[in-house]
């Protein structure tokens, strides 16, 4: 349906806004916040794409993406706090 295409383009515009923040961001945590939020947006985009194309297995990609984004964010936060990744 056409309305889902409009929703999908709005989400793509949101991803570009996050990329603008990751490009302009003054400090390192600004860029990390932008990438974290883009990961959460990608979950919604993947779920919406599974709904549009009727490919049910794509929702599994969304479920995996949640945890991948979470682990990546935790690793970046640990790097920010301690400046090393080993411990």
């Amino acid at each position: 349906m056409a309305i889902f295409t409009i929703y999908f383009f709005v989400l793509i515009i949101c991803c570009f806004l996050c990329l603008i923040r990751a490009w302009l961001g003054k400090t390192i945590p600004d860029r990390m916040v932008a990438i974290d939020i883009m990961g959460t947006l990608a979950v919604g985009m993947t779920a919406l794409y599974a709904l549009i194309t009727k490919l049910d297995y794509l929702i599994d990609v969304a479920l995996a993406w949640i945890f991948l984004s979470f682990i990546g964010t935790l690793a970046l936060a640990k790097y920010l706090a301690h400046k090393t990744l080993d411990e």
């Binding site: 916040v33 919604g44 984004s69 706090a81």
Partner: protein, 115 residues
């Protein structure tokens, strides 16, 4: 078009609107903590709205139940990641905005050096 499809489209629309306003706050706010607050809350609720709308549209099918299963995952992982990122940014030494009025975490940490 059934009633559940109409309600699902409306809920997905609300979720997409929350996503858009969250990303707009990510652009417009002045500080990394403000940006984290705007972006993470709005985008978490927006993604949960999209998943719940898919569940309303599809009912108890494979797609619908897995979308419903994704809601607690997003609600558990996204605030934890945001909290860790805010703590890391504070320890990293990012200054607050000029017009901020209070910083309790700095008072709690005291003058200890970086961990």
């Amino acid at each position: 078009m059934n009633w559940n499809e109409i309600i699902g489209i409306v809920i997905i629309g609300v979720g997409v609107a929350f996503d858009f306003f969250g990303c707009l706050g990510l652009i417009r706010f002045p500080d990394v903590y403000n940006r984290l607050q705007a972006g993470t809350k709005c985008v978490t609720f927006g993604t949960c709205g999209i998943l719940f709308g898919i569940f309303i549209m599809k009912g108890f099918t494979v797609l619908g139940v897995k979308a419903l299963l994704g809601i607690p995952f997003v609600l558990l992982t996204s605030p934890v990641g945001a909290h860790a990122l805010a703590r890391g940014a504070h320890i990293f030494g990012v200054k607050l905005w000029d017009k901020s009025v209070v910083d309790h975490y700095k008072k709690d940490r005291g003058d200890k050096p970086r961990l």
